[in-house]
Structure formats: C-alpha cells, structure tokens
Amino acid sequence: MSPTTLEVKQLKKSFQEDLILNGLSFQLKKGEILSVVGPSGSGKTTLLRVLAGLETPTHGSLWMNGKDITATKANRRDISLVFQQPLLFPHMTVEENIVYGAKVSKKYNKQKVERLLEAIGMSRYRNHFPAEISGGQQQRTALARAMATEPEVILFDEPFSSLDPSLRQDLRYWVRDFLVEQKTTALFVTHDMEEAMIMGDQIAVFQDGTFQQIGEASVLHHHPANQKVASFMGGHLILNENEFVPLGDIQLSPGHGDGEVRTFQGRMEHLTYQHGHPVAHINVPALGSRVALPVQQVTTDTEEVTLHIPTSRIQRFEVNQHE
C-alpha cells in the first residue's frame, strides 16, 4: 500500500452566496492519477486553485505527506498547476522556461533539464521562443516546466482543450505514459468523460460542489452511485431516481425471453454512426429525456419505436454509497 501524498478534508469554498465546494474530501496515494470530471462551470477550476494555493478555502484543510499546508502560500507548496493555456514566458526560450521552473524551486540540475527536454521531444527546439513553436509543443514544454519543480502533486486544468482533436488524442496518451513513467501523483480535471477514463486510474465525478462518486471506470459504469453519475457516464437509461437500465439491455423489438418486460414509446430523431456502430437518438417523452442507443442494425423505417426493457435487467442506484 503506497503512502498518502495529498489529503483533502471537508473542503468548502464560497464566493459571496455561491457555494462552489461543499465539504469535499479525498486522498491521493503516491503515484496515483485521479481524473476529476464534471460539467463546465461546476467549479473544477476553483478546486484546483484552492489546491494550488491561489485561493484560500472558506473551510476545511489540506494535508501533504502528513503536514497541514492549508495556510502555505502557492509558491511554497510542492504542487504544480498546468493550465488550459500553456502560459510559457514569452521572453524565455523553451530551455529557459524549463530551467526557470527548476531554479525557482531550487531543484536545478543540468541532467534533469536535459532529460526533460529529451522526454518531451524538444531537444532540437531548446533555443526556440514560445511564439515559434506549435500549440502542442508549447503544452509539452509547460508540462516539462511544471515537472522541473519536482512537485509532489501535479494538477492539470483541461490542458488539452485548446488543442485540435487529433493532437489532443496523441498528447493524452503521451502525458499519461509520461506521468506513469515519472511516477508522478496527479490530479487531472476535464469535462470529457473519455479523456477522464484515459488519464485517470480512478475517476471522480464532480458535481454540486462535491464528488458524487470515486472509482475505476468499470465501477462507475456498472454501479453508478446516483442519477448524476449515471447521466454523466451516458451508458444507461435512467428510469427514475432509483432505477436505471444499461443501454445494452434495451431492445427495440420484443425479445424472445419470457421474463417480464417494461416498454416505453419513443421517437427516433436521428441516426448517427459512432465507433462503427449505428446510434439511434431516441426521444422518450414518458421519461422526459433523450437517449443515444447503439443498435445492431436499423430495422424500423418508421420514426416511432418501442423500447423493451426486461425487468430483470433493471438495477438500483447504490444510494448514499459513501456517506
């Protein structure tokens, strides 16, 4: 069992009347990567800013390696933050930017900088200025600069969202491998569930100021704690606040089984193709929701469809699982 690097206890943060963080608690083990996923504007960035020391929490405490760092200023915390924008210093070269990180944290040695430059594949561009390199290269340099401070924990605030999609895909795997290789403890914030699953060992679903559930992707998928998690995962049809059914168990034609079946009327509004499968976008008025249902083949030529749900497949949320 690895030791706990960062522990957050009962964190609260409010701006005027708005409660952004509401009693958040979690732990990060050494070398662990946690993805935090949540809708835009849910306060994910505020969480990172509090962890980094740019905002003071209204209530609660932060502990690093057993020491209380709640009152420690940002420049004295062993925490680095990589932003959406690379924010490289425009008057320094790639190498100087990385050296800067190492020197201000008093952890400079030449070999390390060489190693980092090598690792991010920027050795050739070490004397270039940020304006002369591409967005992806800038983001990699920003990561190397953050790593050069040898932080205990490195925080990422949607670091790929300003890059174009193909580049984003490549960089995700690269960063993931890099972090694992360097055995870095990291917290990775995104609004994209796919990205969260690629980046994190564990995924925390953040909504309404707190983590709705923390777990591995499979746990979140098979046993969502509540409606919010399930709707964010998108793999289930939510029947009511207690019950859901996996999309894979929904049939558009009457099944052969003899079990009890619940049916819902719906209207197919679109048909799209994702990952090689047709996906039917069905509006279900009775549930007041739309569902994107992967189908085997397009069978109906009418828009009206009936969803057949075997009662045996209906599951219940594990309500109040971790309270």
Binding site: A74, N75, I79, S80, H91, M92, T149
Partner: protein, 266 residues
C-alpha cells in the same frame, strides 16, 4: 490607399518633419532675412554661444538629475500600482482609476501653490528634492496608466504562473514582470522626462528660482537671444529625452533574459 498615403506624407512633412528641419536649419545658420532676398549663412555660432554659457550646463545637469530621480520614483509607483490594479480584486475599481488620474485633471499650479507653504515648513522649498516631489504630480498618473495597461495585457494568469512554480515576489518582478514590461518602461521614460522638462511654473514656485532647471534658463533667454540660439536651445531640449532613452535602453539590457540586439536569437 495609394492616394491616402500621399496625403499622409504631405501632412506629416508639413506639420511634423519640416518644422523640425526648420529648427535644425535655423540653429546652424545666422538669423534669417528672406524678405531681403538673403540666403542661408551656415555657421556654428549659435551652438558656441549656447554651450559656452555655464548656466546651460548647470541647468542641464540639474534637469537630468531631477528627471532621473522622478523617473525612478515613477517606475516604482507605477509598477506597484499597475500590478495592484490588475491583480487585487475589489469593488469600485473604475472610481479608483479615475481618482489616480485626477492629479492631472486638477491644475498642477494650484497644487504647487498649495504645497508651497508645506514645502517651506518641511525645508523642501528651494531644494531639488522639493522640485522632484512636485514633478511627481503631473507625471505619476500617466505612469500608473501605462503600467496598468501593460500589466493587464500580460494578464492575471501569466502573473500567477511564476508564483505557482515557486517564485518569490521580487524574483518574479525581475525575471518575469519587468522583462515583459519593457515597452511600458520605454513609454514611461519618454513621458516622464519630457513632462519634467516642461515644468516652468511649478519649478519656479517650489524651487524658488534657486533650483535652476532648463526651462528656468529658457524663458529669460527668449528676451535677448536671437532666433539661431533659441533654435539650438530648443533642440537641446529634445536631445535630453533621447539621451535618457538610450540610457534606459542600456539598463533594460541588464534585466534577466535580455538578448543583446546584435546577437542572433538562436
């Protein structure tokens, strides 16, 4: 577009370049009498006469010293305040900005007259220090504005970055902020020196005629010097900001991460 640039050229020549050339030509020749059909008599007499005047050198030295200290104080106040206005969140910011600009909206002569008695009591009247202090009034509001704009352009996120990496206040100031504020430093140098050189009335009020700056020599010169000498003197005024600019440019090269202009970027 082409026509537009012709008009621009004519206007710029007529109103900005030719007046300057007239000034230069007059300073290097005897006073003109074109109406009698006379031409130009090139000579250096005006400069000899001007530069032989010991008062001019003394006043130039005083003006430069005062201008330099005024500039330093302007940078200090401007940088701190510009940073505060950009990074500290508080309500009523537009009014604070207006308040900080107000010293150039109130007559500086009124302020100097009001401060005169205080200066006498504090022993600052008739001293260079007193003059430096009063020269802050018409200059600092501009500097605050320039530095504030510059900090805003750098942006809060960029200013947080060195802090997160572990940089302290002064290290951040010298390694990141000042290098990125270079354009602002240049503008402030020009503005401050020219404004400081422009002050006759408030320098006379606070300096009591004993702190002899260039304007205090220029005005009496008008009574008895001829057009050539006055033109040379006028150009002398423009030399000082240019000279100071070069000095500041050299100082800027000493900032971390500066690249000597003749060295290749890579």
């Amino acid at each position: 577009m082409k026509q537009n640039s012709h008009i621009f050229l004519v206007l710029t020549l007529l109103f900005f370049l030719i007046p300057l050339l007239v000034l230069v030509a007059q300073s290097f020749s005897a006073p003109w009498r074109f109406q009698t059909g006379a031409g130009l008599d090139w000579e250096l007499r005006s400069y000899e006469q001007l530069l032989q005047n010991p008062m001019l050198w003394k006043a130039t030295f005083t003006s430069i010293c005062i201008g330099f200290v005024v500039l330093l104080l302007n940078v200090l106040i401007g940088v701190f305040t510009g940073k505060a206005l950009t990074t500290v969140p508080f309500k009523g910011k537009p009014w604070v900005e207006a308040l900080l600009l107000s010293p150039i909206l109130i007559p500086v002569l009124a302020i100097a007259m009001g401060l005169h008695i205080f200066m006498i009591r504090a022993g600052l009247a008739d001293t260079a220090l007193g003059v430096i202090i009063i020269h802050l009034v018409p200059t600092v509001p501009y500097s605050i504005k320039v530095f504030h704009n510059s900090y805003q352009q750098i942006g809060r996120a960029m200013l947080e970055q060195p802090h997160i990496l572990g940089s302290g206040f002064f290290r951040q100031l010298f390694t990141v902020e000042l290098p990125l504020l270079k354009p602002a430093l240049r503008s402030v140098t020009f503005l401050t020196i020219v404004i400081s050189l422009s002050q006759y009335a408030i320098t006379a009020v606070i300096g009591g005629g004993r702190v002899l700056t260039l304007p205090l020599v220029f005005f009496p010169f008008l009574e008895n010097a001829d057009a050539s000498v006055m033109s040379a003197f006028s150009l002398w005024f423009a030399v000082i900001p240019v000279w100071m600019y070069i000095l500041v440019e050299a100082a800027i090269l000493l900032l971390p991460y500066s690249r000597l202009p003749w060295r290749n970027k890579r």
